[in-house]
Amino acid sequence: MVAIGSVSSLVDAGTMIGIVLAEAIVLYFVYGAAESAFSERVINQLKKS
């Protein structure tokens, strides 16, 4: 289990949720960039196949 240091349960909980939120936002933009770069190519490939 990944553990966060225990300054207080409030800070721990806030840090954990912050990590999840940060991952969600980073993934949104990373996958968004990937979608912009590759989606048209994938759709064209699907239309041809």
């Binding site: 990944v2 349960s9 721990d12 969600a24 936002i25 996958y31 699907l46």
Partner: protein, 343 residues
């Protein structure tokens, strides 16, 4: 080899499972805790960690899916905030009812029976409505600045919209509904959510469409917006008790982020009538799974837990596969018809 404190095989399993759930979540605006928590329980995680990590995962996925639906113009923030207010009040009352039933020793059985009938009932209703409807292409999914066709608004929603008790609230899709009707619907869905102890996406999404009359894509986007808040608060409370395990949540989220993007994009490709059929079938599958699990609990048959999980995962796999398949088929059909027109 271990990554994040878990084996590489388990990491890949979580990412794959996240992808599957992400497609459903992005497409229907529901299905997170409904799928993740039972799976973690069967894998042997303590219930506190299963529920807390499930909620944290739902929170992360709903953030991603809401951002995507926002890009597509499918989130009604005004409706979302009103729904949060009404739902919160309903959840509190639902909890009070549960506590009262617990003191009478009736909570477990009544909640299980309600869950099965509600899931099954909504599933049957949605499937029936979708199958009997004219397959004329459904509502235009490009909702920006357009009014929903009156023929596409369910009769119950038309009745609710006819109560012109001020103040009237203008919603996306050209819908105008009394503030009190929105709060009443939100309270009722919150009541069921608090009573059943679930996120409530499977109740709110159809309620937004069938009772308030907003088009399905906006119902999904607005429901996701609300889940950001309910999931965030819920996971924060569980995290305070050490109930959130990041080695579960982070890989699940990595898979679901991609799945949610695919699912959200599919709402703009696949015909709305098909969306409703899939949604109804998935609820029916969930209803049968819960009934099987409860039967196992009553008669002490442990294998029923596993059968229940297989039913849930199987219906989720089938439905998410159908979403992807329909999207690909639609793209190919549009491509071939465009080619024929050009010829």
């Amino acid at each position: 080899m271990e990554i994040l404190g878990i084996s590489a095989a388990l990491l890949v399993l979580f990412i794959g499972f996240g992808l599957l759930i992400g497609i459903l979540f992005g497409f229907f605006g529901m299905g997170g805790s409904f799928l993740v928590t039972p799976a973690l329980l069967v894998m042997g995680y303590p219930s506190r960690v299963a529920v807390g990590s499930g909620l944290a995962f739902v929170f992360g996925t709903s953030v991603i899916a809401t951002l995507k639906h926002r890009d597509l113009g499918q989130v009604d923030y005004k409706l979302g905030v009103l729904m949060i207010a009404g739902t919160t009040a309903g959840i509190e009352v639902g909890k009070v009812i549960v506590l009262h039933l617990e003191s009478l020793g009736l909570a477990g059985s009544i909640i299980s029976i309600t869950y099965v009938f509600l899931l099954g009932g909504i599933g049957l209703f949605v499937t029936y409505e979708a199958l009997k409807g004219d397959d004329d292409g459904g509502i235009d999914h490009d909702v920006e600045g357009e009014s929903a066709d009156a023929d596409d608004i369910p009769d119950i929603a038309k009745k609710i919209q006819s109560y012109r008790v001020p103040p009237m609230i203008d919603l996306r899709g050209g819908v105008s509904v009394s503030l009190w009707m929105i709060l009443a619907v939100a309270f009722a869905t919150g009541l069921l959510s608090g009573f059943l102890g679930v996120g409530g996406g499977f109740i709110r999404m159809p309620a937004l469409f069938y009772l308030i009359g907003v088009p399905v894509p906006i119902a999904v986007g607005t429901d996701l917006f609300e889940i950001v808040f309910s999931g965030g608060i819920g996971s924060f409370l569980y995290a305070m008790d050490g109930g959130v395990d990041l080695s579960i949540v982070l890989p699940l989220l990595a898979g679901s982020a991609l799945g949610a993007r695919l699912g959200s994009a599919a709402t703009s490709i696949v015909d709305e009538e098909e969306i409703k059929v899939y949604f109804g079938l998935m609820l029916l599958g969930g209803s049968i799974a819960v009934a099987v699990r409860e039967a196992g609990n009553i008669y002490g048959i442990e294998i029923f837990d596993t059968i229940s999980l297989i039913l849930i995962l199987g219906s989720a796999l089938l439905v998410s596969g159908a979403v992807v398949y329909s999207s690909i088929t639609t793209i190919r059909t549009e491509s071939s018809s465009t080619t024929q027109t050009a010829d």
